[in-house]
């Protein structure tokens, strides 16, 4: 979809000729306001819409930009245009400083983040009012000369805002179409799963916040001179953030152009009412519009329009279509998906990279230890889930983890994959101790996992769910290449027909296979499977067992938690039995299961 940036720029260039029409200054001002709101709403959306961290502090950064410019103009007599990058810089610095602290705190999400940012607005506003920056009387800029960019003064502001809006829309589109944007959307849907999949969530949130604030600051800089008299009371209120939220939610927060649509709609609406001398009613109507939008169109106008015009399901960027299943277009249909790998699939799976690690790991030397866990402890609020676990996982094997409910098997997987942090102990993977490493780095090191209850990214397509894993765990940086590889993995697991579907359209069996495809797409050397077979019918279990075998044949080492005994007997090289957070027994499946202490643990009393 590389046309889009040209369309945006083209529209910007075209609209630049509007002042030549010689419209009354009023229209310039109206259009200026519309464009300014486009900048504010779109920039807000880059953090809040894409990641779901709804900020109510956008007014603070807009205000920071306003006051940076007004101070530089009034006090230091800078040329106006030079104040704009400064305004952006100050706002961005403020945002990044705030984010650096706030994003580190685990509990700050959702409503808490919203209130925090709102509080920041009032704090900054109060500081500004009480210091020489504003001093309570505001700052007058009437003496400052307005640069001659357009034929009239008001058209100058229009053109500046147009430039800012074009730039902002380009940035918003570029992010949405990039790997960075894919990560942001993943954070929105399931931050923990994204982190475990390899998305550097802290860094990404901070970057998005910084960009968002910079653009708001720049808009503020322009607005300062437009107002020509700046007061803090107008700026540091709840009005700006709430309006911005309204516009974005109305237009659609998932799409880069959604906030712009909302901004145009709301500004036009308010204008219509103000012009007709019903400003008050205009407020009521916009309130009513917001209510209707929340109740009936919670995803916004744009997605609804896309749906009507059949522009395809929601995908990573909201615009692109998935690549077709294969170049030669053969229908895989009802044939067993595991029988003959499709040429494309074979190509991917036998590519040099894959072949390299496949051959490297197919040592067939059982003593080569891939993962060594010693003394692993994990407690939750006084309950000891893992009480000192020692286990070795050998390269190329399939190790089964068994044990009654509550014995610590899932906790083990959660700790090794980084979902939880161990209280004590070491987890040495290929020579590196990963025990207290961030989850996304563990994913990068070559470990991936599935969840017992599948956790797909609900608002991305099946294809994009897998593509995300390729982008972040598999070291691929190009979206298109990632999608191609993802398609190959979907074929490997038999889900290729569902590539453009949303996860909630899949049944449980398909969702589990999606989890598997996601886990594999990052080309891990160790795959952790958490009760993958739970809830499947016997024939589905057979399919899954065959698939797991093929995964091992590709060269991955597999550790899986399972209760379905026949799968355990059929697949595992060795098993480890957990009991009350400790390892009870380890060894060949047939041997271990006959041991009296294991039988007691399972059935509760010694068996003859």
């Amino acid at each position: 979809m590389k046309r889009t940036p040209w369309l945006i720029v083209g529209a910007g260039v075209l609209l630049a000729f509007v002042p030549q029409l010689g419209l009354p200054a009023f229209y310039d001002s109206l259009l200026y306001l519309m464009l300014s709101w486009i900048v504010l709403a779109t920039s807000w959306n880059i953090l809040s819409g894409y990641t779901g961290y709804f900020s109510f502090g956008h007014g603070a950064f807009f205000g920071a930009g306003i006051y940076t410019t007004s101070t530089l103009l009034a006090r230091f007599e800078w040329p106006f245009l030079w104040t704009l990058p400064m305004a952006a810089l100050v706002a961005a610095t403020l945002g990044v400083a705030l984010g650096a602290v706030v994003f580190r705190v685990k509990g700050v999400r959702g409503e808490v983040f919203a209130l925090l940012t709102l509080a920041i607005t009032f704090v900054i506003g109060t500081i500004i009012v009480n210091t020489p920056l504003d001093g309570g009387q505001g700052v007058s800029l009437s003496a400052v000369p307005v640069p001659h960019i357009g034929p009239t003064q008001s058209s100058t502001f229009y053109l500046l805002a147009l430039a800012a809006a074009t730039l902002t829309l380009l940035i918003a589109w570029a992010i949405a179409a990039s790997r960075f944007g894919a990560g942001l959307f993943a954070i929105h849907d399931d931050e923990d799963a994204a982190e475990v999949m390899g998305v550097p969530t802290y860094r990404y949130k901070l970057t998005a916040f910084g960009i968002s604030c910079a653009l708001a600051g720049a808009a503020g800089g322009i607005h300062a001179l437009f107002l020509s008299y700046v007061t803090s009371g107008e700026v540091f209120t709840i009005a700006v953030p709430l309006t911005v939220v309204l516009m974005s939610v109305l237009g659609g927060t998932r799409h880069w152009a959604g906030p712009a649509v909302g901004a145009v709609a709301i500004t036009a609406l308010l204008y219509a009412f103000t012009a007709a001398d019903h400003a008050v009613a205009g407020k009521a109507v916009s309130g009513g519009v917001l209510i209707a939008a929340i109740l009936f169109m919670p995803e916004g106008i744009l997605p609804r329009l896309q749906g009507w015009f059949g522009r395809g399901r929601a995908t990573l960027t909201g615009a692109a279509q998935p690549p077709s299943a294969s170049a030669s277009g053969s229908a895989v249909g009802d044939a067993s998906p595991f029988a003959v790998p499709h040429p494309d699939v074979a190509a991917v799976l036998t590519s040099p990279a894959v072949a390299a690690f496949a051959s490297a790991s197919r040592h067939a030397v059982p003593a080569d230890v891939l993962l060594r866990v010693r003394g692993l402890h994990k407690s939750f609020k006084g309950v000891r889930a893992l009480a000192g676990v020692d286990v070795d996982v050998r390269r190329g094997e399939i190790l089964g983890l068994l044990g009654p409910n509550g014995s610590g098997k899932s906790t083990f997987i959660n700790v090794v994959s980084g979902h939880y942090v161990a209280n004590a102990g070491e987890i040495v993977f290929e020579g590196r101790d990963l025990a207290r490493t961030a989850a996304h780095r563990i994913a990068g090191a070559g470990i991936s996992r599935t969840y017992q209850i599948p956790r797909p990214f609900a608002r991305s397509s099946v294809l994009d769910n897998v593509a995300l894993a390729t982008l972040f765990g598999g070291g691929v940086h190009d979206l298109r290449a990632a999608r191609r590889q993802a398609m190959a993995w979907l074929e490997f697991t038999g889900l290729q027909d569902k590539a453009s579907a949303r996860p909630d359209e899949l049944n449980l069996h398909q969702r589990k296979f999606l989890e598997l495809a996601r886990a594999l797409a990052s080309r891990p050397r160790l795959v952790l499977l958490d009760e993958v077979l739970c809830g499947l019918t016997p024939s589905e279990i057979d399919d899954a067992v065959a698939l797991i075998r093929r995964i091992r044949e590709q060269g991955s080492t597999i550790v899986f938690v399972e209760h379905v005994m026949r799968a355990v007997m059929a697949l595992t090289d060795r098993i480890a039995v957990f009991h009350h957070g400790e390892l009870l027994a380890e060894g060949l499946a047939a041997d271990v299961m006959q041991r009296p202490d294991v039988m007691t643990a399972y059935l509760g009393r010694p068996y003859a």
Binding site: V383, C534, H563, V568, G604
Partner: protein, 254 residues
């Protein structure tokens, strides 16, 4: 009226109290129960065993009204309860001890027990029920003012059972009462369950710990992958290869 203050069985022992026919329940998008039929007779203590993922919790939650049945029929005391609103199950005489206890952790033990007797019919007997519960679990007496979330797993299980008893149920449902508890506590809990049943309360319990469940029950069902695959007395079932295979994966022949 029994000494313990528990509600007497409304039906003569042996009559069918709960009748489940062809129950179909979907959990989310996935079907979890594929036509389950079972009976609970008045005064019985019976168990449903099966591996993880078999649908045991889905079954019990549906019987307690926490989940909606997608098809089939449930009849309690002669009345069709299949489409009954969730909050009316308790008034019918069904109380649940849920999986993982699910106590109100931010409320005291006493308040949890009082919640159990929220309904007017149970509230009238609140003091007597509380005395009976403490007689069953003496260790709870000193824990009454403490927050439920601060108790150990075993103590929480006791509170959960006591809470359900405060509702003066005719049918007590227990979902994996042994979960996460050490073996000694499990013995205590099951002893308590036996006493409750001896006082006339019918009990349906769902368990992964086959031995304990079979030891206390008079009848059992085996649930596997959403279907009842076997039914009978504990001795019959334990001898059967299904159980051995389901839980140990080894054949009795070798």
């Amino acid at each position: 009226m029994h000494e313990s203050g528990m509600a007497p069985a409304a039906r003569a022992a042996g009559d069918i109290l709960l009748e489940v026919r062809d129950l179909r329940v979907a959990y989310g998008a996935a079907p979890a129960l594929w036509g389950v039929s079972l009976d609970v007779r008045a005064g019985e203590l019976l168990c449903v065993v099966g591996p993880n993922g078999a649908g045991k919790t889905t079954l019990i939650n549906t019987l307690a009204g926490l989940l909606r049945a997608g098809g089939g029929q449930m009849t309690f005391d002669g009345r069709d309860i299949t489409q009954l609103a969730p909050h009316r199950f308790c008034a019918m005489g069904i109380a649940i001890v849920p999986e993982g206890r699910r106590l109100f952790t931010r409320m005291s033990v006493r308040e949890n027990l009082e919640l159990g007797s929220y309904l007017p019919a149970a509230k009238a007997y609140r003091t007597r029920s509380l005395d009976a519960a403490l007689a069953l679990f003496p260790a709870l007496e000193e824990k009454l003012p403490q927050l439920a979330g601060e108790l150990s797993g075993g103590q929480q299980q006791m509170v959960a059972v006591a809470r359900a008893l405060m509702a003066r149920p005719r049918l007590l449902l227990l979902d994996e009462p042994s979960l996460g508890l050490s073996p000694l506590i499990v013995v205590d809990v099951f002893a308590a369950i036996r006493r409750i049943n001896a006082d006339g309360v019918s009990v349906l319990l769902v368990e992964q710990n086959v031995a304990m469940a079979m030891a206390v029950s008079s009848r059992a069902y085996v649930l596997e992958e959403g279907r009842i695959v076997a039914a009978g007395t504990p001795d019959d079932l334990l001898a059967r290869p299904e159980i051995q295979r389901a839980y140990l994966g080894v054949r009795d022949d070798a």
